[in-house]
């Protein structure tokens, strides 16, 4: 089984995390590291995907700056989204041409990959007692009860078989109650709202409530389900450089 390095970046500004991500993509591309899963919690930021429509940002840039929210244009798929504290962001850097149980050709189809990311997140949410679903045509992880609310957003980029960007799972209320989501129409979907694991858990009757997990616990859960769904051995690592040495040793 191939190895999956897991690297926790902790709280980090978007630009800084993007630099780490870009370096990871370059290293993965030249084969210096194996598949990698980056976890990060961003400082408040609004990012625009390749298909983003500016009109889905409801306030101007100076208003955003006043609230301490940065704005970035990225090359991931999808529309506009918000990242901030209380939200678990994952950037899987995978080579889609590698071994995957679900692979049906020379590479894992990028859209199939997105469906699998949903699978990972749905399993994790289920572990914390929150049942979720997919909605056809609306990539992401959604709650069951109508109107469905988005628990996790997905937007990826693939270059020469290497994936970047990834998913954002709202764990704590800070993520969805932040003013950040009010400034945008998330993913350009105006009809459905945003929620978090915490508010989903707390909206249940008290007797059914599981404890609200910490970001760290969700991180571990997602990593575990990621390794199962994509058939990878987990290897926690402290830095990209450590991942490189491990790769050299094992390779």
């Amino acid at each position: 089984m191939q190895t999956l390095h897991v690297l926790q970046l902790g709280r980090m500004r978007y630009a800084e995390a993007l630099a780490v991500q870009q370096r990871a993509v370059a290293l993965r591309r030249e084969g210096s590291i194996g598949d990698l899963l980056l976890f990060v919690e961003h400082e408040p930021v609004i990012t625009l995907g390749r298909n983003a429509h500016r009109e889905n940002i409801l306030v101007n840039e100076s208003a955003l700056a006043q609230q301490g929210i940065e704005l970035y244009e990225t090359n991931r798929g999808g529309d506009v989204t918000y990242h901030g504290p209380g939200q678990l962001v994952g950037y899987p850097i995978l080579d889609l041409r590698g071994e995957f149980p679900q692979k049906r050709g020379p590479y894992l189809g990028p859209v199939d990959y997105v469906r699998l990311l949903e699978e990972v997140l749905m399993r994790s949410c289920g572990e914390f007692g929150v049942t979720t679903q997919r909605i056809a045509g609306c990539t992401g992880v959604w709650t069951l009860a109508a109107p469905e609310k988005k628990l996790a957003a997905i937007g990826v980029h693939v270059t020469v078989g290497i994936t970047s960007h990834g998913f954002a799972l709202n764990v704590l209320n800070a993520a969805n109650t932040s003013h950040g989501f009010d400034c945008i129409i998330p993913c350009g979907i105006a009809t459905r709202g945003i929620t978090s694991l915490q508010s989903e858990i707390e909206s249940k009757p008290l007797c059914d409530q599981q404890p609200v997990p910490t970001l760290q616990q969700v991180e571990h859960s997602v990593a575990r389900h990621f390794s199962r769904v994509f058939a990878r051995n987990l290897l926690w690592t402290e830095s990209l450089d450590e991942a490189m040495t491990v790769n050299t040793v094992s390779g």
Partner: protein
């Protein structure tokens, strides 16, 4: 050797992708695996690498267009700009143009001076419609004639059309013969029946060995004594009558909100004719002896074939037998003859290896004469259990034939 660049498959259920941006322009050199265009679909933004190194000779699908997977979107290694002047290059990549033609339209219509460029698909459509392609203006890359162009020219163009349209109302050679009266009645009544009854069919396999032996032993004697050939039909009819006596619901029919149980068993026997099909009826069949039954069957069949049946001889049936096995058919699933509620289909009589369990429990394989029977019944009044019991009784009557009749 030119290499086609195709729209890749993004996922198992994904059939198309949108090109968002060309990262390389025609004439630029690309290395193998160097990203040359970007596509987007379903929250995935992907840069597609070049399948080979070479000069990007032509872009066939512009940015912003959505094309199905495996569509050729560009060509690497063809001669740059050669597409318009040198038909040879195009001829070398017929697959490319064929696929692309349905999807590409470059806004700049180029009128080529040389022979018009087209794909095999376009040429086929042209040939099928007796169209001279030189009359069509190509709007595709390098002035080639796309399918769109041809379809527009022919006037029969639908935007979603991906298959060549076939000319409407083609008359196929042949002759138009009006249906006979009998044919149209059969047509009408069969459809009526299917619309009326809730048809269910159950199939039983019956060991006819005993009957076969008995018939072989007695047929000469029977014919000389009763003046009629001994066929299997009277045996089958007799067994059906015995079963119908036991299960009157199979001999009943639905009348409004009630079920009418008939006092008599009037067995219709379907007789195939050169010109159709007719079902003469043996009235009060439960009162007939075996030889009388045999004579009735033979008599009605003969008169049906010689068109000598009286009108009342084809009416009043309460149950029907239809022998579809005479042509070797294993079993058929007959349509109920309205307003009856059940019909018994008779399959072919064949010899088969069968496992026989003796009284002491020992098992052996024997050659037995086997025959399939199917009961088509109206589930509105007959349940599967009734039908099953009826057929079990029918089977038992044949397998344990007791009548001294023959």
């Amino acid at each position: 050797m030119p290499t086609d660049v195709v729209m890749p498959q993004m996922g198992e259920s994904i059939t198309e992708g949108t090109i968002t941006k060309w990262l390389k322009q025609p004439g630029e050199r690309v290395e193998r695996d160097e990203p040359i265009f970007e596509i987007t679909t379903d929250k995935v933004d992907a840069e597609i690498p070049a399948p080979a190194a070479g000069i990007l000779s032509s872009i066939l699908v512009e940015a912003g267009k959505t094309v199905s997977i495996n569509t050729v979107v560009a060509i690497i290694g063809g001669e740059v700009g050669a597409v318009a002047e040198a038909p040879k290059t195009v001829a070398a990549t017929p697959a490319a143009t064929a696929v692309v033609s349905a999807n590409t339209t470059s806004p700049a219509a180029v009128k080529s001076d040389g022979p018009n460029l087209s794909s095999p698909l376009v040429r086929r459509i042209a040939q099928e419609n007796n169209l001279d392609l030189s009359r069509v203006t190509g709007t595709g890359a390098g002035g080639r004639i796309t399918k769109d162009d041809v379809m527009k020219f022919l006037g029969g163009y639908g935007a979603e059309n991906t298959t060549p349209t076939t000319p409407a109302a083609v008359s196929i050679p042949g002759e138009l013969v009006p249906m006979t009266k009998m044919r149209s009645i059969i047509a009408q009544r069969m459809v009526e029946s299917k619309h009326t009854s809730a048809h269910v069919h159950t199939i039983f396999k019956v060991d006819m060995t005993r009957i076969v032996r008995m018939r072989n032993r007695h047929k000469a004697e029977f014919e000389s004594r009763h003046g009629v050939k001994l066929t299997y039909m009277p045996f089958i009819t007799s067994a059906a009558i015995a079963a119908l006596r036991k299960f009157p619901i199979v001999n009943a029919n639905l009348e409004g909100d009630s079920i009418r149980y008939h006092a008599h068993i009037n067995i219709g026997i379907a007789v195939a004719l050169e010109w159709g099909l007719i079902v003469p009826v043996i009235k009060n069949s439960e009162t007939l002896s075996f030889p009388e039954l045999a004579r009735s069957v033979a008599d009605l069949a003969a008169r049906a074939r010689s068109k000598k049946l009286m009108p009342d001889e084809v009416a009043g049936g309460t149950f029907t037998l239809t022998n579809s096995g005479i042509f070797g058919e294993v079993i058929g699933l007959p349509i109920i003859n309205q307003p009856q509620s059940a019909i018994l289909g008779i399959g072919a009589l064949t010899k088969e290896p069968v496992v026989i369990t003796a009284a002491d429990g020992t098992e052996s394989i024997a050659i037995r004469s086997m025959q399939h029977f199917s009961l088509g019944f109206d589930h509105r009044i007959i349940d599967g259990a009734d039908a099953g019991k009826f057929m079990a009784e029918f089977k038992s009557a044949l397998e344990n034939w007791q009548h001294g009749g023959a």
